[in-house]
Symmetry: none
DNA sequence: AATGAATGAGCGTTCATTCAT
DNA sequence: TATGAATGAACGCTCATTCAT
């Protein structure tokens, strides 16, 4: 109603009144939302009420739903870049290391990624349908990658062949679940232990087939 | 509601009867409650509404709360026997098998136990305070046992020594968490893979120390 | 907490403190709920928020849901007696009047019943699934009755035979829908007009078959 | 968004072009809006979310509100032509048929019109203020017409005189309300039954006045 | 003039927990 | 001691409406 001022005096900050609207571009708001979501996920878990995320971001719940109709959408938006980085790491590691080592290192990369987002592991193991898309996205992204790494290591005789890549991927995130006295180092070690198990089985198979 | 007193012993004063009767009633309630809780836990998981358990048992919710103020109390009461069985299995297995094999077999026993109660794995990894006592009870029961099995296997040179028993125990239950396309056989295999990892490390250590 | 008074002075009202609890029997509460529901239905329509009904009754929403899981249940409870009265009227009217007249009079009875509960007509024509049970209950109660009345009148040659009893019943409640400047007398007259239409068709049929 | 100006007449000053262009744009928007609204009304009923209509038309919700501040305005704009057609039908029918028949046929025309727009009948009987203007418009359009038809038929002795034209008009739309197992044919028949009722009353009156 | 992002009140519903009886 | 009625906070979600751009 009262917005005709057309302030020509540029020394006064123009974003004085209703500063929420002066920088209303969705992108900025979107960023704030992602920041807030990360904060809230960290604080209250990925199953935090949408209201809490909205409040933290200083927006209405409708805004959150507008940008991210499903909870999974919000999570995926928060971690999208990290997912890509993690996926690309497989290529790099394969190029630089022996197949078994590449496999082991990528699993550590994956674990570090999961651990870097508090509550992500829990979301991946939730039975809530709201997380279905998240799980599916993870599966479609990472299972082929792990499958490929497993084949390479197996073909090189460094690990045993008969292992479910789906199972192994889920195992890795399972081991990242926060519990009392949770220690990330232990989670990492347990994942490497799984790979060592594959190596052991390969060794045993070779022994017995002699 | 209107239960006839099948009293054949008329010599005892009636007040006593009532007392005894009430005690029997309470006991029966308690038993029915545990039975019902097991049924409901099996059907709907350990996070089923208290009301559902009370209804199944034919008692009021207040009765459930009276006997088991915390959900953990109820769960522990229901699975107490199985916990004991699982704990005792360690002794039996140790007596019958080589230390490494005993360790591996007990881990499978533990996994089977966890898997037999839907939602138990999730409860053990829940951050809900209602499950705190449950987690603590599991830790105090099973960590010493696993510690002992690990030491024995390690001393026998069958597995490597440096492993967190707490971490390994949690790993086992983590791998039992239900996910899409969950397959108990895969869970069991992954747990055995962890033990194989310990064997591999022991083998590697022996090789390098030669 | 503070409830030991055990007032022996009966001149003072004993339901002083926490009077909600002193007469906590479900029946009474149930009555209050039904009263409140009727009031709210009258004020805000049968599609009023459950919260509003609960507030009017001075109870929590959970209490409403406990007694009446579906909105239809609440409505049916409010009008149950009137439904029965209306159904029984058919018998009385049939005994005292000629078939055509009985039909006409019962339709008026039905209309008066619908009109006596503000918003009821709207509920019967809502597409909201919450009202499905209500509609079904009405159909199963009244369609057989109307069918019977129609047959009798038709057999007596007072009305024409080919008419949908379902359609006619719905027509009666449709005509009771509140609109601007709604006049109950007009609603009643229109329903009687429908019956007169049946009479006209019967007359025409008789003429043409001569 | 970036539309090329197909300007072949370069003699006219460009500013004018822009003006004209904008007007054309606005007009097209308006037309698209009405088309889309009709589509959405037909698909989802006249109570469809404004957003759905805007989306279908490819415009923002603000544009819809600008052109049609009230939902009634939009509905009336969409069905304006049909309303006129329906009104004009009265003239045609009156010219071609006997008064009673013209009345009956126009009622059928009116019913067909109402039935052609899903949800229209419900809107006409809604207590939502958003539909108030719609109801008023219907009343001011059609009541005089029906009044006239009724008078003519009544004067010709084909129907009885004492009937509320407002009531009868509302009755017709009431009978078009969708219900479970709704059958348009039944709705039409019931409306014709009302007219037959008027005929019956006229006949009875004539008999008794002899 | 057109846009559509933002708002936030409001709804139905669940369920852990309390406490008068 | 047992009961279960009552509570009410909390959640996911929708959508009419506003208004800065």
């Amino acid at each position: 109603m009262e917005r005709k001022e057309q302030n020509t005096d540029n020394t006064v900050e123009p974003h004085d009144h209703k500063d929420r609207y002066l920088r209303v571009d969705a992108k900025r708001n979107n960023c704030a939302l992602l920041q807030s979501a990360l904060t809230v996920f960290t604080t209250s878990g990925v199953d935090a009420p949408i209201r809490e995320i909205a409040k933290q971001a200083g927006v209405g719940v409708g805004t959150v739903y507008r940008h991210f109709p499903q909870r999974s959408d919000l999570i995926l938006a928060v971690i999208g870049q990290e997912m890509d980085n993690c996926a690309e790491a497989a290529t790099t590691l394969t190029a630089k290391h022996a197949p078994g080592e590449a496999l082991a290192l990528w699993m550590q990369t994956y674990v570090d990624f999961i651990l870097s987002i508090p509550g992500l592991a829990a979301a991946l193991h939730s039975s809530d349908p709201a997380y279905e898309a998240l799980t599916e996205s993870f599966d479609s992204h990472f299972i082929p990658i792990l499958e490929s790494l497993l084949h390479a290591a197996s073909n090189a005789g460094e690990t045993c062949p008969n292992i479910s890549s789906t199972g192994l991927l889920n195992a890795a995130s399972s081991l990242c679940l926060k519990i009392t006295n949770f220690d990330p180092a232990v989670a990492r070690d347990l994942v490497s232990l799984l790979i060592d198990g594959l190596r052991y089985r390969s060794y045993i198979n070779q022994q017995s087939s002699k």
